[in-house]
Symmetry: C2
Subunit: 421 residues, 2 copies
Amino acid sequence: MQLETRPVRIGIIGLGPRGETLLANLLAMTGEVEIVAVCDLQEARINKILGILAKAERTQPKAFSNYQEMLALPELEGVLIPTSWNSHLQIARDAMAQGKYAGIEVGGATSLDELWQLVHAAEATGVSCMMLENCCYGRNELMALNLARKGLFGELVHCSCGYEHDLAYMACEIENGFERALHNLHRNCDLYPTHGLGPIAKILRINRGNRFISLTSTASKARGFAAAAEKNNWQGCAGHKVFNMGDVVTTVIRCAQGETITMTHCVSLPRPYSRCCRVQGTKGIWLEDAGGIFIDGISPTCQQIDVAGNPYTVHKWNKVEEFYQQYDHPLWQEFRRNPIGGHGGMDILTLRAFLAAIRDHAEPPIDVYDCAAWMSITCLSEQSIALGGMPLPCPDFTNGKWFNRTPAPPSIWCLDEVYEK
Amino acid sequence: MQLETRPVRIGIIGLGPRGETLLANLLAMTGEVEIVAVCDLQEARINKILGILAKAERTQPKAFSNYQEMLALPELEGVLIPTSWNSHLQIARDAMAQGKYAGIEVGGATSLDELWQLVHAAEATGVSCMMLENCCYGRNELMALNLARKGLFGELVHCSCGYEHDLAYMACEIENGFERALHNLHRNCDLYPTHGLGPIAKILRINRGNRFISLTSTASKARGFAAAAEKNNWQGCAGHKVFNMGDVVTTVIRCAQGETITMTHCVSLPRPYSRCCRVQGTKGIWLEDAGGIFIDGISPTCQQIDVAGNPYTVHKWNKVEEFYQQYDHPLWQEFRRNPIGGHGGMDILTLRAFLAAIRDHAEPPIDVYDCAAWMSITCLSEQSIALGGMPLPCPDFTNGKWFNRTPAPPSIWCLDEVYEK
C-alpha cells in the first residue's frame, strides 16, 4: 500500500488495555507516526508503555499525568484518547480547544450535552474529532458501501445493525472497577451502538444529505449478567445481584430520507458474535447473519410449483465471498496485498485514516458530527426505554448543514463516496 | 402416523385460490374429513369445486351462496373460512354463534373491535376459533418449541420473527381486485404478522402465563411496490402510483414476563424468503437467518488471542440440521415417516389439529385468544406508525385469565407443552 510517510506527531491519553492495543498497532506502522507524548493518571501504566517503546527502540515520548499540560505541547498534532467512556468526550473537547485533532474510541454518550460541547469545540477551532470506529473499515462493511454507491442495492430503504457479543464475564468485573461493567450495572440502553451503526450511517449518508430523525428503544428483561455472576459465585460483583441493562435492547431509528434502521444490543447472553448488519434497497440486500447478498438480476432465482399447482419464484442467496473479487472496496483491494494489524486489519486502516487527516489538515472521514450523531443513540435509547418505548427526536448536530454538506475531500479513506484512484 | 379416523363433517366458506389449496390438502387426508357443504358468492367457483370433488369421487356437498344458511345445517361440525381478510372474522363470529368450530386463515385485524367480537362469540358458545397458522407446525418452529420446553435455551429473554417474502407483483393486482393488494395500497402496518409471531407466541406461552403488553412500530419509506408497478408499465394498478405500505415495517413487542419480540414485515423488495425467527434465552439461541443454533455447553467454542496478546472466546454455530436427530418435536418424528401435503407438511398438520379439536370437542391448540392477540398486532402497528412510533398497549383479550390458564389438553397437536406419547 502506497503511503505518505511523514510521521505524524501524536500523543496518547489513557494507557490502559485499549491504549496498549492501539500502541501495538502504531508500532506496526513504521515511519507513519511518532509518539511524542503519553499521559496517564497511573505512573505504573506510563512506565509500562515507556518500556514497550524502549524495547521497540522508539524515541521516548514525554510523559504526563495531567492531560492539559500535555495538550499544551506545540509539537503535538493530535491525540488518541482511549480513556474511560465517562471522560473521553471532555478530553476530546479540550484537545480540540487546543487545536489538536482528537481520536476517540467507540462508545456511547451519557448526555446530549457532552456531544454538543464536542461539536462546539470543533466548530470553534476548525480541527475535528474522529471516532476510531474500526468497523467502518471492515471488509464487508466497505464492500456494502461500494455496492450501495454503485447502485446495486437500488434506492436504500432499510438497514439493521447491532452488537451481539457474549461479554457476560463483565458482571464479575465490578469490584476491579472495569468501567463498562458499571455502565451495564447502572444503565439500560444500547450502550455500544457504533460498531454496527457507524458503517450503516455512512452508507445512508447520515450528516451529508440525511440524518437520524427519531428513535424508539425497548429492553428485554435482564438475566444474563446475573446468571454469569451466579455461576461465578457472585465473585467480583461487589454485592450486586441486579443488573439494570436489559439482555437485548432493540432500537429503531427513522431517517430524514425515510429509511429505517433496526439496532440490537446484546452482550450478556451466550451466542456467536455478530454485528447483524443488513443493508436493503429496492434492488437487493446484504444480510450478515445469512452470510449472503441478493441482488435482483444477478443472484439466482428458480421457479417452483405449490400444492395447488401454482408457480412461484424462489430467491437464493449468493455467499458474500462471491462478491469480493468484483466488488471489494478499493481500499481493501489494496489492503489485502499488505495485511497487517489487529481485528482483521480494521484497526490499522482506521488509524491510518486518522493520521492522514492530521497530515493533510483535512476533515477526517468520521467527523465530529458523526461522533455526536452516533453516540447520541446511547442516551436517547436510555431515555426512550425509561419512557416505555416513547419515540424521541434525534438532535440535528449540524444545525441544518446536513442538507448540502458535501462528502469529505476525496481520498482513499473517505467513507462517504468510494474513491477510485 | 396413527390417526383417529372418524371423518369430521366440515364446510368451506370461500372457494377462491386459498380455498382450492385447502381442498387439495383435505383430499389427501383420506377418511379424516367429509366436506358436507361449500359456500361462495360466485357460482363459477362453486361449480369448479364441485367438479374437483366429483373427479376425486367424493360425495357432493350441499352448495350455498348465503353462509348463514349453510351455518344452520345441523350436521355441520365446523367450517373453514378462507374468505377475504375483511370478512373472515365476522363469518367466524357467526359460525361460533351457531355452535360451529371456525377455522380461519392467517392475516391481521383491521380493528380491535372485530377481535373482541370473536372472543365474545367463543366465550358465549364454548366452541372456539382456530387460526390455521401452518407455520406453528413447521419443523424448525416445533423443534424450537421442544428445545425451549426442555430448557436448552435457559430462561427465554428475546425473540424475533417476521415475514419477508417478495410479493411486489401484488402492486399490479389492484385492478383485478386482489384484496391483499388493496391492503398494501391503503394501509401501513405489519399486515401479515402470524407466520412469524404464531410460533413465537406459543414458545413464549402467550395467553397462558404471559401476554403481549405493548408495542411500537416503525415503517420505512414505500418504494418497492411502485418500483414493481413501474417495471410493469403501471399495468394493473388502476391508476395508483403511491402505495402506503412501508417496505420494511419493524414492530417491537414487550411481554408481561419481560421478553421482547422484534418483528419485520417486508413483502415489496427482492430477497430470499425468511420468517427471520430467533428464540433466545440465558443459555442459547436459534437464529433462522444464520441457519444455526448455539447452546451453551453443547455448541463449540474456541479460544483465540488478540493483537495485544489477550485471550478471548469465540462461539460457533451448530447447523440447525444437527439438532434434528435428537431434538425434532415428537410430531415431526412421526410425520417424517409419512410426509404428505403442501408447505412441507405444515398445512396437513394444521388441518389435522383443527379436525382433532372438533372430533374431541376440545380446545384447539390455537384458540380464540391466540387469534385475537396475534391478529391485533396488525391494527396496533398501524396505529403506532400513524403516531410516529408511539408505544401502544396490547389488550388483554383473556381479561386476566392468562395468569393461570393451563395448556390445552395434552395431545400430540398441543403447541403449549411438548406431548410425548
